[in-house]
């Protein structure tokens, strides 16, 4: 990949980081509030089901997390395992998008429940 492309990966990493910075705080607060008195399926479904705002939130969250994680793994694999080059880059991109798709599917499932 060109140096320009590598810079764009860095930018994607930082932009998703900023999104995640907000999303993780929301997620943590939700966990802390939800866990109070024990988690229940009814509570989670009652919150997310049919609610577009939560669906959007989780979709953006999952996309950002999937990409952010894959780009991070790419860097670690390059430095600690020597996995470098175009084929690895494409594989990491695919892993990132696939992970995100799984997350979005889960969010859609809760929305439809």
């Amino acid at each position: 990949m060109s140096a320009r492309g590598q810079q764009h990966l860095w930018v994607a990493q930082r932009v998703t980081a900023m999104i995640l910075g907000v999303a993780v705080v929301v997620h943590l607060v939700t966990i802390l509030v939800a866990v109070r008195g024990g988690l229940s399926a009814a509570e989670i479904i009652g919150r997310v089901s049919g609610n577009e705002a939560w669906l959007m939130f989780y979709a953006v969250f999952a996309l950002a997390a999937g990409l952010h994680g894959a780009i991070g793994l790419r860097g670690i694999a390059a430095e600690w395992l020597g996995w470098r080059g175009r084929r690895f880059d494409l594989a990491w991109l695919a892993i990132g998008l696939l992970t995100a798709a799984f997350g979005i599917r889960a969010a859609a499932g809760l929305y439809a429940a």
Binding site: R14, A17, A41, G72, I76, R105, A106, A113
Partner: protein, 115 residues
């Protein structure tokens, strides 16, 4: 391989290591998390079953660990963003300390809520 700790004991290096290790574990956990969720949402009963399974001690302990990892990675990420985008310099040590504080606080809060 023996790692020489003498050149790697400054707070900002430790902040880097914590950020990297927590990020690595979280990135590996993420697909697992999504997979478990999408399996569990085949209806309220399935989700409820899944949640009851997570009530066991080992799962609870690893959940606490995940919350701490997430908080630590978030705090470390804020450090990096502050350095890169805001050009913060001298307050690096304070930043590291604050990062550790935030993650610990989140972990404790989680524990308190579970109890």
């Amino acid at each position: 391989m023996r790692i020489d700790t003498r050149p790697r004991s400054h707070p900002t290096y430790i902040a880097f290591l914590v950020h990297r290790i927590s990020g690595l574990l979280l990135a590996l956990f993420l697909p697992l998390h999504f997979w478990a969720l999408s399996r569990a949402i085949q209806g309220e009963a399935a989700l409820e079953n899944f949640l009851r399974w997570t009530d066991n001690g080992l799962v609870k302990a690893s959940e606490t660990l995940l919350v701490i990892l997430l908080a630590a990675h978030l705090a470390g990420g804020l450090r990096v963003l502050a350095l890169e985008f805001l050009g913060w310099r001298s307050s690096q040590k304070t930043l590291v300390a604050a990062s550790a504080g935030v993650s610990l606080a989140a972990g404790l809060l989680f524990l308190l809520n579970v109890g």
